[in-house]
Amino acid sequence: MLIVTCVKQVPDTTQVKVDPVTGTLIREGVPFIINPFDTYALEESLRLKEKYGFRVAVISMGPPNTEVTLRKALSLGADEVILLSDRAFGGADTLATSMVLAEAIKKLGKKDEVAMVICGRQTIDGDTAQVGPGIATRLGYSQLTLVDHIENVDLNAKKIRVRRRLEGRHELVEAPLPAMIAVLREINRPRYPTVPMRIFAQDAPVILWNNKEMGLREDTIGLKGSATQVRKIFSPHREKGEIIGDGVKDPQASARLLVERLKEKNILIL
């Protein structure tokens, strides 16, 4: 039985800066990293592998240099990594992304029964958290997002029991397999690769599937298959470092001003 983990390579957006003068994004020197949320997805897959004996396949759709990220997955213990890369996949929104990923999972499923697809909660570049639900819907899998604990996997009954975190509460859910699980950061602490595994991963195979391999209709994938379009991009005006009132002379006034400011900006809802 197979667990398919979806990972995305993203620019390290915490390093992205906005030029204060021109307002453009400074990406110079910003490296691509494995989407931090996906490291939890991979870790959870590996733990399930250790506990129940699944095989773990990691798939990623992205440009050819995504290979680096996939090698990292190998060094952590993934059994198989597949890079979905093609010109035709480029410019995809979540609809088109989930299309390619779902088809890839189907293709993997022909060789080995898929028990679970595990995704990160969201990415740090697109930030949408929509790809996971997209995959689940396309494949007709049980959709379990916001999972912060996997309680049990019953392989005989083909059922999984997880805890989901919603606003102000948790929910214990039981769902049939196969399931798509999107995990939260709190679910685990990702491991660190050992050196022998890293060395192994340096020249282990990364399987490439392009659209010749996948054979998907061009108007369902990539830019052409995307329903949303980005019209424009601009930098948010950010108020950094406003000192409010004179807190030494008149703490009362500063406190009131602060609360007013927070209300004004809808940061504080009373």
């Binding site: 994004l25 949408t128 606003e167 424009k232 601009f234 703490p251 809802i269």
Partner: protein
């Protein structure tokens, strides 16, 4: 392309404007009909000058306006000549392709603005009402109706509330199978309603539930979905313009859905203003029956675990009130706890506090403690040594209260008060309590565009 009789109009060549590409995922490359674009390791396009025919498709799709057409000086000259000779004629008649026309006709069938009313077992989420406020404006601009969908088990009271918040029609699906939210049942129900009534816009709250549901619905309906919007507007053609932060909040993107309907967004809570309740406002309830049998649904909600988990789990808290060495003693953390209680948050601290034994280690934020990203982080008497900053600097809003105006914490703070925590914090608590008692309606006068950009 054949040599024309007139001087051939140079089309130029696409060129990347340095520093503007955001590595959006090779939109330009995928748009190029000539395969003239290769992506480099930074995710930026490299344009093959030989192959580029200047068709401008890449320029159109680039969200970052990072590409432009470049002419050689000779071409520039020819262009100027043409411009001079054709200035009177008026070029650029727009031709509409048949495909486009069909698509336009298709999307014309969809009308109305819908808001999904989110609730937990009958208890509505405020964001739904905020969305009715935002939806009302969209509906007004578009000249269409504002409706809401209520799905649940014994939730008819939400219909009335929807009217009070501005909906003029509510589609109601009331059945025991909808008692708990489950993606499958709600997804099917909404798709059924959408297919039947064809709304042009469908809004949901960008809550855990909303984002779970919207992703599934949009995929099923094969339409565009914009996540976590902070601004909504309608353009002259009637497209919904959805503005949302991306790239970890470093950029804002305005997104629209061109060919498919409905246009779907999830909208961040607390961004749109909550409209005033109008108890006199009435509307029509459309009762729908969409049969899903309980035994057809394999997903079961076994248990709901309620309670403030944030209490023990700092990383999950939306608001963190943190104290540092400046708190001077264990007993003073009671004050921070009060503030945290007012804001529904948790109390954190710096390492010094743990060392002094004023707080347990699990409350420590920073390098060797927890990394947190709450919506509001209030640092009280924390100097802001780098060891602490790395644990909290990605919080949405940082408020620093410190006596030392040179403390590094002010460098990362959104709002700072230079003052004594023992005076400022109680004053904040008092003022919040004061405001709470005299509740005021938050919608004041209508703004032109909704939400914030």
């Amino acid at each position: 392309m054949e040599e024309e009789k007139k001087i051939r109009k140079p089309r130029g060549i696409a060129k990347l404007i340095p520093g503007k590409c955001i590595a959006c995922g090779a939109r330009c490359q995928s748009a190029c009909p000539e395969d003239a674009i290769e992506m480099n390791d930074k995710g930026e396009p490299v344009i093959n000058l030989e192959k580029c025919i200047g068709c401008r498709r890449c320029i159109k799709v680039c969200p970052a306006e990072a590409l432009e057409i470049f002419y050689t000086p000779e071409e520039q000259k020819i262009l100027e000549q043409i411009a001079a000779s054709t200035s009177a004629k008026g070029t650029g008649t727009k031709e509409v392709s048949i495909e486009e026309a069909a698509a336009t006709a298709h999307i014309k069938e969809y009308r109305g603005v819908w808001v999904f009313v989110e609730h937990t077992e009958g208890e509505p989420a405020t964001v739904s009402w905020e969305l009715l406020g935002a939806g009302a404006k969209l509906a007004k601009t578009l000249g269409v109706e504002l409706c809401s969908i209520v799905i649940g088990d014994k939730v008819e009271h939400l219909c009335q509330e929807s009217f009070e918040y501005g909906a003029s029609r509510v589609y109601l699906l009331d059945a025991p199978v909808f008692h708990y939210y489950r993606t499958e049942t709600y997804n099917k129900a909404i798709c059924y309603l959408v297919k039947k009534y064809k709304p042009e816009i469908l809004l949901m709250g960008a809550t855990g539930l909303g984002r779970d549901l919207a992703g599934a619905v949009a995929t099923k309906l094969n339409t565009g979905l914009t996540a976590d919007c902070t601004g909504l507007d309608v353009d002259e053609k009637g497209f919904l313009l959805q503005t949302r932060p991306a790239f970890g909040g470093n950029i804002m993107a305005t997104i629209f859905t061109e060919r498919t309907r409905p246009q779907m967004s999830t909208v961040r809570p607390h961004v749109m203003l909550l409209p005033c309740k109008d108890t006199s406002h009435k509307g029509e309830i459309v009762r729908e029956f969409f049969a899903i049998k309980e035994d057809e649904v394999a997903v079961k909600v076994l248990e709901i675990i309620k309670g403030q988990r944030a209490e023990c789990d700092l990383t999950a808290a939306d608001v963190i009130v943190s104290g540092g060495r400046g708190m001077q003693g264990k007993e003073n953390f009671e004050m921070l706890q009060q503030l945290a209680d007012e804001l529904g948050g948790a109390v954190g601290c710096s390492r010094a506090v743990v060392e002094a034994g004023w707080m347990p280690a699990e409350r420590q934020v920073g390098q060797t403690g927890k990394t947190v990203r709450p919506k509001i982080y209030i640092a009280c008497g924390i100097s802001g040594a780098i060891q602490h900053l790395v644990g909290m600097q990605n919080s949405d809003v940082i408020i620093a209260i410190n006596l030392d105006k040179n403390a590094p914490i002010f460098e990362v703070a959104t709002y700072g008060i230079v003052g004594d925590v023992f005076q400022v914090v109680p004053a904040i608590i008092d003022y919040i309590r004061e405001l709470r008692t005299g509740e005021i309606c938050s919608i004041s006068e209508s703004k032109n565009s909704i939400g914030k950009e």
